[in-house]
Symmetry: C2
Subunit: 166 residues, 2 copies
């Protein structure tokens, strides 16, 4: 059944837009999950974790890693342990702090991630291939407006909620 047929309220345009946004995101995410599983025998949380590490040549602490993760699902400590065991990720001591350590990609992990990132890029490009460059720019701009407003709304609600509970 089509998600979008669920929009049936007083503001159908906005609700339909929301369901369409959600549908598109879910379809693309499903394609990415399928590709990661069948071509790389991995999962989206594992890919996401390695993507975060790839951007920091000197690795990062677990807390920072956790904050940056885009994908929920999967315990970050468990995933890190697995990736360490498989040789894609390593733990290094934090200079000047005997009890702290950072996690970073191994050379092998970096090469493996680059292969996945290339495939990921292909899946994403394919998803948008019916759009012209101009259409991509248009939707990008409109999503920017939505993003700013959605950020404001979320922050405002969080503050209201804190105020009510203090």
């Amino acid at each position: 059944m089509d998600l979008e047929s669920r929009a049936h309220a007083e503001n159908p345009d906005e609700l339909r837009l929301w369901l369409r946004l959600l549908t598109c995101t879910q379809l693309i995410e499903k394609r990415v999950r399928l590709g990661l599983r069948t071509e790389f025998e991995t999962t989206l949380p594992r890919f996401d974790l390695m993507a975060q590490l790839e951007r920091e040549p000197h690795g990062m602490k677990m807390g920072e890693l956790s904050r940056r993760m885009m994908v929920s699902g999967g315990n970050i400590t468990t995933i890190t342990d697995q990736l360490v065991k498989e040789g894609w990720v390593e733990r290094v001591d934090e200079a000047g702090d005997r009890r702290a350590w950072r996690v970073q990609l191994t050379d092998q992990g970096r090469a493996y991630f680059h292969d996945m990132a290339k495939a990921h890029e292909r899946w994403i490009v394919n998803a948008f291939e019916t759009l012209s460059l101009k259409e991509i720019q248009t939707i990008h701009k409109l999503l920017h407006k939505i993003k700013l407003q959605a950020q404001d709304n979320l922050h405002e609600s969080l503050i209201d909620n804190l105020a009510e509970n203090s």
Copy 2:
């Protein structure tokens, strides 16, 4: 850290668009989850389950309900049991099949859901309030193109995958 700064490959326009789409979806979903929790003491999977039932006055079987769920997370049987216990949902015998039953909203559940749906509609309308009607229509149309392509891509990959494994 901003998600979008992660786009750094050969096809930055498409990757940036994907990350922006994901960011918008996640921001709006977070607002919805927060509102459901603070204003209704409920969760998105519970709301989603009741939304599915609301569309079927005569309820549906668990398998059908499961297929229609938009939100992952939360075991559907567990959620249904909770909602039955709280009086929002009831199980009814399936006519002509002594071992089967359907689930449907109670009158009380329907009224409760309508309150939540109104609030939900308000959060969604707010997320898009900086867009003109014309902009909403434009983005809706562009997302439609993305949806069709993403559907095709996913189906194709699923079929390829089945063929390889048979």
